[in-house]
Symmetry: C2
DNA sequence: TTGTAAGCGTTATCAA
DNA sequence: TTGATAACGCTTACAA
């Protein structure tokens, strides 16, 4: 039913296009607009990019010509001359937690596109040369700025995108480079809240399922966990740490490790919702009850956390805001504002649902 | 600890940059490389873009100079002159199903970046002017091609991106325009398989939770459902259709509607995993057992489907391949190949898990 | 306020 | 195979 939009012939193999005289209906140039409006190209350019530096009447005439001719400025020419591309690179870490990052990207996209900037995606993926490619993109002047969602900044031969002279902002994780404004969640406070919540429910034997070793967030989150453990005076031997990496598989493995323990913890702190969900599935399949036998707190606040059984107590990260804030900072930098505070910390919030409950009574009736 | 990467001074406001003599360490130009290699700029250009049209020895000399000077060709200049940008626009529908689309995007990205193309994201989002923005991007010559993940092709004043003269490929949904090569899953076969699976288990009263009215996939999926119903000769009054839109909320609403029914279906066909998962949570919370009382089949095959309880029987879409195949087709078109078959259909696969089981015995012991 | 004209850095055409 | 040189389409001093 949809009317087929005219596209010329069917599949003619566009060959006889070499001739000069009006190739059907060539793309309008600024000169065409100038002619149609009876002004110079300079005026057209000004009418379009600096409306207040042109007479109202002229401006309207130009705009009309633009409309009639369906004129769209050529991006390459504009960029070459002006030195700006209006494109931002967003570097996404090796794919993990799509539900988490997609919302951060959403926040970035909203801000950038509202300001007229295009968003280039650069996945820091498995493929060889992927990083080189990103570096070339940046040094090729193709970009006005970059937002990195990963602690790892793309680099090649020691030449990182930080040296390209474009502003860079880090979101979700710090880069370790002082000059890069960074927007993160208060990781340490969050795990502190997670752990205190469990301890407050009477849990004394805890399991911490970590993120990747050395990971920016992981390091900070573990600090919060340890602080809570210390403040509650839990004995060292009642606290277990398992390594993980934020994804499902890690949760399954942690679950298996848990099941194999002689003296199982009753409170579990997970550093991502995916891990928590996979962990929960694994131990429940083995007959462990949540939250009766074990209480579990996730981290991230993805939507799914509210659709598993039992629903997951978790930390809700301001995902959209993380992205939007980072984008705003970058736009500020591009607009010539002086660098803002180096670190912007947004707050995560504990959302209590059904996966946590008072600790089971110690040594009584349990298997 | 990470060495702060030198970035020049602090914020000097780059003023005294007009002077000729080496501004610190200016970005190398093709002329610099030519000089260093003792050849002309034309030769440098050829050495870089058409290696076989230059003497091996010269090529090596040029490459060495490139390395030494850290030369990266200016993208804008290249694009202006060559008329190609090596950038592809990917149009993503109003954000829904991040876990689904992220994998499709992954497939696209792998192919594109391997071929040296950058990927611009265009979310078809709520914001006003968002679509206009995409249209401008395309008509600005900023792009060599586009992949649309949505049946809706961005347009403004009746000027759609299809008329910009760049190749466009549709993935996941058709556009209704014959000239656009399209890659989709065999929707109808998939719902046929979903429904037959339920019917084969003895279910005679079915509920179909639809996608958005008129949606490309929805229309095809419903056909498969109806075909299966017809072939089994189920009476019309035993088949219910509820409207939905692939997201959580729709599943919750469908669940509520289900609970309110006097004579409840025992088999449920959902057209997305999100909907299935939300539906399942809603009815289980009300005491309905899955799969003992109700069997449920999802659609998409997102990872989460294997982590809910019970695990979800579903259709696994070849998400990565959908994206990768679309990207390959686009790259072919960009390479001058003649248009391929207009429609490429990939196959979805029924994955049987725990949310489906034989139908409960009719009229016996039920509430 | 508007017009003139000089580039922006590369690739493609044409000779050599 | 290589080199000179003219575009590519726009923005921006500078002049009028």
């Amino acid at each position: 039913m949809t009317a087929a939009t005219g596209q010329g012939g069917g599949g003619e193999g566009r060959k006889s296009r070499r001739s000069r005289p009006r190739p059907e209906r060539a793309k309008a140039l600024i000169a065409d607009v100038a002619r149609a409006a009876g002004v110079s190209t300079a005026t057209v350019s000004r009418a379009l990019t600096a409306p207040d530096r042109v007479l109202e009447a002229t401006r309207l005439r130009v705009l009309e010509a633009v409309r009639v001719l369906d004129y769209t400025p050529n991006a390459a020419a504009r960029q070459l001359r002006a030195g700006r591309s209006r494109a931002i690179l967003v570097v996404v870490p090796k794919r993990r937690n799509p539900p988490f990052f997609s919302e951060v990207l959403h926040g970035i996209d909203m801000e950038l596109s509202a300001a007229g900037y295009a968003m280039l995606m650069g996945n820091l993926d498995s493929v060889d040369g992927k990083e080189d490619y990103l570096v070339d993109l940046v040094f090729g002047g193709h970009l006005d700025g970059a937002i990195v969602l990963s602690a790892a900044v793309p680099a090649r031969d020691g030449r990182s995108i930080l040296q390209a002279g474009i502003p860079v902002v880090a979101v979700c994780a710090g880069t370790g480079v002082a000059e890069v404004p960074t927007v993160v969640v208060d990781d340490t406070e969050c795990t502190l809240a997670q752990t205190r919540h469990l301890i407050g429910l009477g849990h004394r034997r805890l399991l911490y399922i970590a993120g990747p070793k050395g990971n920016y967030n992981e390091v900070r989150r573990y600090r919060g966990f340890e602080a809570a453990v210390r403040e509650a005076g839990l004995p060292r031997e009642d606290v277990v740490r398992l390594e993980g990496d934020y994804v499902f598989r890690a949760g399954v493995e942690a679950g298996q490790a848990f099941l194999a323990m002689a003296r199982r913890p009753t409170g579990v702190v997970a550093t991502s919702d995916e891990v928590a969900i996979a962990f929960m599935k694994t131990i429940r399949a083995a007959g462990v009850r949540v939250p009766q036998d074990v209480s579990l707190v996730g981290f991230d606040g993805i939507e799914f956390a509210d659709f598993v059984e039992p629903t997951l107590t978790t930390i809700r990260q301001p995902r959209f805001d993380l992205g939007a804030t980072g984008a705003r900072i970058l736009l500020g930098l591009l607009g010539g504002e002086s660098p803002p505070q180096p670190l912007t910390v947004l707050h995560g919030e504990l959302v209590v649902r059904d996966s946590t409950a008072p600790a089971p009574l110690p040594r009584r009736g349990g298997s």
